[in-house]
């Protein structure tokens, strides 16, 4: 386009002058028309506004509202958890806003906005640890839930019979797994057994322990659960989980529709998340009698560091995804030892 219409002034001769001028004016008109349609398009299709000043005013507005929310929490005594969750969501929205507009912002503004975001996060973390007493991670503290806790007394291999099995609409046969439970401790000991695929689904406020090696693990619809898993030789597929803690080792891990959940992982490849937010990652920390041999057998004895190499399929940009983060070291649970829970469960 430009090449066609570029006029070299040196060649302009008086005879051609009139026609060239006409050509030139029509070119200018075409260009302005094109520019018009282009800007119309960008107005309608893109949520961003490509103006530094309007970005900054919106950014500051959101920032101020988050700060006032943070200040409020000092005076709140109850409902702190949901309050903090809301603030966390606002902060991550703010971060998203920065990232969405980062392509046109001057680098100084990107840096300073990101700094503001991380300061806000820090403040929230500090308040969180100040105002909400940190729960110590221990199995002993479960005493309070005594009446609601269920321990399978039978041999581990019969556990799957205890759990009520609900066939999916087209499943031809039931697969081993834990399904449809609330407030129970569910233990599966796979040692010496050849376990193919294992399913954990539709659980609320349960604790799941899978000792030994399985080939594939499917996790679906879990709320407020703790899931401790020995090595998985193949892949793990997680969908629709909220408020959970997972400690797991596998060759591949895919996480879909997860909210406010912590993952302690050892993975041979890069874990991925999709349609998730508020998920945090830390290294694997499970321990039970003989776990070293199991990990070795599953080629998972090496720490690859991949637990922190998370790919977010909903965030294919160079900037860090706002949907996940590394779990700060001081908030990690430490080593989770599930070996003594294998036999006798008198502590619970």
């Amino acid at each position: 386009m430009e090449e066609d219409d570029t006029i070299n002034p040196n060649l302009t001769e008086s005879t051609e002058h009139a026609s060239l001028q006409k050509k030139h004016s029509s070119m200018v008109e075409r260009l302005s028309k094109r520019h018009q349609t282009r800007s119309d398009n960008s107005d309608s299709s893109s949520p961003s506004f490509e103006s530094v000043s309007s970005f900054l005013s919106r950014f500051n507005l959101l920032k101020t509202s988050i700060e006032s929310n943070l200040a409020e929490s000092q005076s709140l005594s109850s409902q702190l958890k949901p309050h903090f969750d809301n603030i966390a969501v606002s902060i991550s929205d703010l971060e998203k806003l920065v990232a969405q507009n980062s392509y046109f912002l001057p680098s100084y503004d990107v840096r300073s906005s990101l700094k503001t975001v991380s300061d806000l996060k820090q403040k929230l973390d500090n308040l969180n640890s100040q105002l909400i007493p940190k729960k110590k991670f221990a199995f002993k503290n479960k005493g309070a839930k005594k009446d609601s806790v269920f321990i399978p007394q039978s041999k581990p291999s019969t556990v799957e019979n205890v759990v009520s099995e609900k066939a999916s609409s087209i499943a031809v046969r039931d697969s081993p797994g834990f399904r449809n439970e609330t407030g129970h401790v569910l233990i599966k000991d796979c040692k010496g057994l050849e376990v193919g695929e294992f399913t954990v689904s539709d659980l609320d406020s349960c604790e799941v322990r899978i000792i030994g090696t399985v080939r594939a693990l499917f996790v679906h619809r879990l709320k407020n659960c703790k899931v401790y898993v020995g090595p998985v030789m193949g892949s793990i597929l997680i969908e629709e989980v909220e408020g959970c803690v997972f400690v797991m080792a596998s060759h591949q891990i895919r996480i879909h529709n997860a909210k406010m959940t912590d993952f302690y992982l050892r993975v041979r490849s890069r874990p991925i998340i999709e349609d998730s937010n508020g998920v945090r990652f830390a290294p694997y920390c499970l321990c039970y009698q003989g776990i070293e041999d199991d990990l070795h057998g599953a080629a998972l004895d090496q720490e690859t560091g991949n637990w922190a190499n998370v790919d977010d399929f909903k965030w294919l940009r160079a900037v860090q995804s706002p949907n996940w983060s590394v779990l700060p070291e001081n908030e990690r649970v430490g080593i989770v030892d599930v070996s003594n829970m294998n036999n006798g469960n008198e502590e619970i």
Binding site: A171, V172, S175, V195, G196, E197, R254, H256, S269
Partner: protein, 198 residues
Amino acid sequence: MGLLSIIRKIKRKEKEMRILMVGLDNSGKTTIVLKINGEDTSVISPTLGFNIKTITYQKKSRHISIHIEIGRYTLNIWDVGGQKTIRSYWRNYFEQTDGLVWVVDSSDLRRLDDCKMELDNLLKEERLSGSSLLILANKQDIKGALTPEDIAKVLNLEAMDKTRHWNIVGCSAYTGEGLLEGFDWLVQDIASRIYMLA
């Protein structure tokens, strides 16, 4: 000379086949491609985007009395990621596909509905209407996996358009079992259509 015959001529010279591998995430597409190419399959991350592999395929007839080299083909295999977010990009790879490989995780009973729905959508696509369809019922090595027969029932393959050339083969990308059998069928079927060799 029609366009189709020109394309056929060009293809006959190079004997190339374009093969598109699709299926839900976690079905094992990348592992299958690496396995048939003899590569290491121990570290594979979920595919963000796609991989292309060019593989030379050679097969001689086992019937000694006939002595026919069935053929030497170059397979261009397009392995496209199956995560939900990127399934909408599959359509970008439909053009000129000779063979379609639909990979199923036979141990993932819960998502067979999803699997059927995505396959049905794919088969409605006009640009794929002439391609041969190989369904690989993968992960047969996992205890509790459905057999290829069960998968065929669930996906209701018998109800498919009668003009479609299709086959279902059980396989394990982990052990390699069944992979060659599946690709042998696919290459033969495509060859018999495009290169008119039986």
